[in-house]
Symmetry: C2
Subunit: 351 residues, 2 copies
């Protein structure tokens, strides 16, 4: 299958405008895509990378593997509902799950700053152990480096993951079809709001906890039930809006979503209003969108809801053809608007 | 096979003496081993990790895979003979090769500091591309994060690698046998001296270049020739001495090496004398030791020498039984001494 014309409209020589790296180059928005399209993809051109999916799907000796990596630089290291260790396990497990893979093994590279309390490292490693057990993966190889005080920020962790792909589907943006239903596994915005509330010292009436959780189990349940998954994407930096825009561009189709169907808790909604954030763009760490044939949508929602990670699952929209590569949001009052990638940075170092 | 009693003597509650991370915790010596034994190994106990080898060897669907990771924080980013990009590819390729695996795929996680010139990133990525081509691996998945100015140091890179293990050998410390010959693939100390010379602004008569190079081709040649490889280890942080001590402890055997047989160029020897370094402990990035049955040693050396990465290959010692877990160096004047792990840090941020 030919590679999709993903992101083709996003890069009119942008890096000449930014001769230095900005925080927004890591934010999941337009500048990060520019970096990808201008520097990384041309250098390492190969079909797996060009699929621009959460993990590469590869064949070795007749076995299909998924392989992925993420670097974690979240600040603060500990936040309501998790810490950098839970993120480093669940984030990478979720990238594997988005290929429909069963996560098997993780690697972990630690970059520690001189002066870090050993107790802090011990707490983070304990979280990683617990998360790995909960996600049923084994951490089998690792490395530790230490950098001088003032040249790091406590702990950075880079995990890579390998999983086995036991199905024959091509779960990717290029497999999305007009008429597909768009499903969301739960409410939006908790991870981003949990982080910013600690960072800014905000106290809400009811504390908002990160949604950080492993998503492999509900995905494997969908596959076992024979649901024809066309595409999956977990919602991280850039939130739901960015994930959908990437899939619209990768599929060359038009996605329509309905604001009234998108669950956001009152607490998150209130915090977003206070902070001036749009929940559609706020980061999540335990939520996914799934694209399935409309006829299978109700069954898929029921399967997701049967899992603790998917109790809030719902159908939020559908796929059409034109205008290609666009996402339309129908607001609660019936107005429609196109969603666009953020050009700046909403919340730096969210994961 | 039971796990070896590796490193068992190295950890009398050491971390109570060091409540905070020191640079030496990343240096490859005693403190790094303490960290491993006290925090990481107990948390993630599993057979692959407990093998304490450069990469984990795993079975998936009847195929044997090698999986490994390394974080790279070298300072400066560019040095004679390479840069952080060549290191990030070759270092991980070499860890795969030390399991006798054919390296197939790499992932790369970038942690960039706000303010990094885009040109610097472009140069590093170009080096990675070139090194990946030379090592015949594909970079198939990646991630980029940006941290605030003053919370990073230009570029950190974490690569993970997956390779295929096509042989049936157990290439690991536990497979070393008394009587084995110990082979070294070339001269020592170039990488460490290249780094320190830039860092300290030292000018030598003839510039000393890093030995950074991929080692998979000569290892695969040894396997194809039917050499019974018992153990392989590439020499990185801590140099030859540390690698041999780890293998002595992992095998429970006694390794004897002869200083007169260990190649060190005059330039490196002179630099080490000037700087007060022992070349046996200086880092390399393109050198390996191999343990093979004595009867196959000459043939193995000839095969290594036929490769550009192994032209300086030679036999440097042999394996005996007692005293178990020790490495003895016979000096040029005939005196013998045990080698020990460095307790401090010789050269921080060498890779």
């Amino acid at each position: 299958m030919a590679d999709p014309p993903a992101f083709s409209g996003s890069c009119p020589l942008p890096l000449t405008d930014h001769p230095r790296i900005l925080l927004a180059h890591g934010g999941g928005g337009r500048l990060m895509h520019d970096l990808l399209e201008t520097i990384f993809l041309p250098a390492f051109a190969n079909p797996a990378l060009e699929a621009r999916h959460d993990s590469a799907v590869l064949d070795v000796g007749g076995t299909r593997l998924a392989f992925t990596t993420d670097a974690y630089v979240v600040r603060p290291l500990f936040f309501p509902g998790g810490d950098i260790g839970t993120l480093a396990v669940n984030g990478t497990v979720n990238d594997l799950a988005m290929s429909g893979a069963r996560p098997l093994w993780l690697s972990a590279g630690f970059i520690l700053e001189e002066g870090l309390p050993i107790d802090t490292l011990t707490r983070v490693v304990a979280s990683m152990r617990q998360s790995a057990q909960a996600a049923d993966v084994q951490l089998v190889t690792g490395d530790t480096k230490v950098v001088d005080q003032g040249k790091g920020d406590g702990i950075f962790i880079c995990t890579a993951g390998v999983g086995q792909v036991a199905h024959a589907l091509d779960i990717a943006p290029r497999s999305v079809r007009p008429g597909d239903a768009i499903l969301l596994s739960g409410d939006l915005g908790r991870h981003g709001v949990a982080i910013i509330s600690v960072r800014e010292g905000l106290a809400f009436e009811s504390p908002i906890e990160s949604d950080c959780t492993p998503l492999a189990a509900p995905v494997l349940a969908l596959l076992e039930a024979g649901i024809q998954l066309h595409c999956l994407r977990d919602l991280t930096r850039g939130g739901l809006a960015t994930a959908l825009i990437e899939i619209a561009q990768g599929s060359g189709l038009h996605l329509l979503i309905d604001e009234a169907f998108i669950p956001v808790t009152e607490a998150v909604q209130g915090a977003c209003e206070l902070l001036g954030f749009d929940p559609l763009y706020v980061a999540n760490e335990g939520r996914l969108v799934a694209f399935v044939p409309a006829a299978e949508a109700d069954r898929a929602v029921a399967i997701l809801r049967a899992h603790p990670q998917g109790t809030g699952a719902c159908r939020i929209g559908q796929v059409a053809s034109d205008p290609a590569g666009q996402v339309t949001l129908r607001s609660r009052i019936g107005a429609s608007r196109f969603l666009d990638l953020l050009s700046g940075e909403q919340l730096p170092r969210i994961c």
